[in-house]
């Protein structure tokens, strides 16, 4: 798989990108305006003769840019600048598109950006909740990719040190940009699990009534409960972690620090109503522990059960 070239922000400024345009999410338009290329108001159509598209935003925007470039403008160079960490879309062959509230998942390395840019100053604009949610998304990629039944031993050896670093890195640290990109690229070589199965299934419905719920927030709400579920369901989970030098309790404490209890309570009724769909989700079906129809009872009782490690 070709990995995107990695540039720093100063390197980006020094590049000759030819006729370039910048497409930025609303919260990144102010820093994007400091770049020497014009801001596009829409992705489609691009100005005639565009040679480079610089996409600045979160995972959804970058994934839309990946799809647009692949399907509509294959000769245009794509430079992805994540404005927040978590999805790792800038480094992943997996592209998740929201189409009328349903998730379309494409796996195609040719859709990867040509370049991803590290612009750590963008992290200083992140509200603490978004930073926390992004950490949970990245940690979920690492943990679910590591524990996946499809993961081979060399991949686990590659992901374990990443998980160790994520456990030790504070949520506001810009190092999460790189950790997140590495975790996402790694999990694309195995699979994710039921954290993502839940997020993909209920995100659209939740967002209709609660616009603040995005994918990363759902990862924050379900990473700790799912990790607890996996550990209590299947002893192999702890064995695998320990065999690779990871402390399962320390990992669970890290997931718990990212856990938003009020969001979990809000999302739980939707989870219960959509449980059958969660069971059918492809991510759920490659979870490290078998997720059964009755497993919803674990999640229903999670907050009341006092299950702190």
């Amino acid at each position: 798989m070709n990995r995107p070239e990695v540039w720093t922000y100063p390197q980006l400024l020094r590049q000759d990108l030819g006729r370039a345009v910048v497409w930025a999410t609303a919260s990144a338009r102010e820093p994007a305006a400091s770049l020497p290329w014009p801001l596009a108001t829409a992705l489609d159509p691009l100005p005639p003769g565009t040679e480079t598209l610089v996409a600045i935003g979160g995972g959804s925007l970058i994934d839309e840019a990946k799809a647009f470039r692949a399907q509509r403008a294959p000769s245009v160079r794509l430079v992805a600048v994540p404005s927040r960490w978590g999805s790792g879309a800038e480094a992943s062959p997996v592209t998740v598109l929201d189409r009328a509230g349903r998730k379309e998942i494409h796996l195609d390395p040719s859709w990867l950006p040509d370049v991803r840019v590290l612009w750590p100053e963008l992290a200083s604009r992140l509200p603490p909740e978004l930073a926390r949610d992004g950490c949970a998304d990245a940690l979920a990629h690492g943990v679910e990719g590591f524990l996946s039944p499809l993961a081979q031993e060399p991949l686990r050896q590659e992901i374990a040190p990443l998980i160790e670093r994520m456990i030790a890195t504070p949520p506001a640290d810009a190092a999460w940009f790189e950790l997140s990109a590495s975790a996402c690229a790694a999990q694309a070589r195995s699979s994710v699990g039921v954290v993502h199965g839940i997020a993909h299934t209920i995100e659209g419905e939740l967002r209709r009534s609660q616009p603040r719920f995005g994918h990363a927030r759902l990862c924050a709400a379900f990473l700790w409960p799912v990790l607890r579920f996996d550990r209590t369901s299947f002893a192999k989970v702890d064995d695998l972690l320990r065999r690779h030098g990871l402390d399962p309790d320390a990992l669970e404490r890290a997931a718990r620090r990212l856990f938003p209890p009020a969001d979990y309570s809000t999302a739980l009724p939707v989870l219960q109503a959509r449980w059958r769909d969660v069971l059918r989700d492809p991510c759920t079906r490659t979870n490290s522990a078998l997720v059964r129809p009755a497993s919803v009872e674990f999640f229903s009782a999670f907050l009341a059960a006092g299950v702190a490690p």
């Binding site: 059918r280 492809p282 078998l290 009755a294």
Partner: protein, 83 residues
């Protein structure tokens, strides 16, 4: 109450492939079950390891064409499915 291995396997297959209990038979074939696709192969392998402690090799997992193949593989490891 001791749950027999036959009961454990039956519950596992019903849960993994989201079957109605009335659809279950011990001679079910993979091509009769819509959810026994490539991801179903992964799920049932995880479920068997979780339930019976045996990890299928990749060749074993892809070679399974029906429930009787799972029974045979587990019986060969000393796991009894006698009534």
């Amino acid at each position: 109450v001791t749950v027999s291995n036959r009961e454990k396997l039956k519950d596992l297959v019903i849960d993994t492939f989201l079957l109605d209990p009335a659809e279950f038979r011990f001679d079910l074939r993979r091509n009769e079950v819509e959810t026994w696709d490539s991801l179903g192969v992964v799920s049932i392998a995880v479920g068997v390891e979780q339930t019976f402690g045996y990890h299928f090799t990749a060749d074993e997992a892809v070679g399974i064409q029906g429930l009787q193949d799972i029974v045979a593989l587990l019986q060969a490891r000393g796991i009894s499915f006698d009534e």
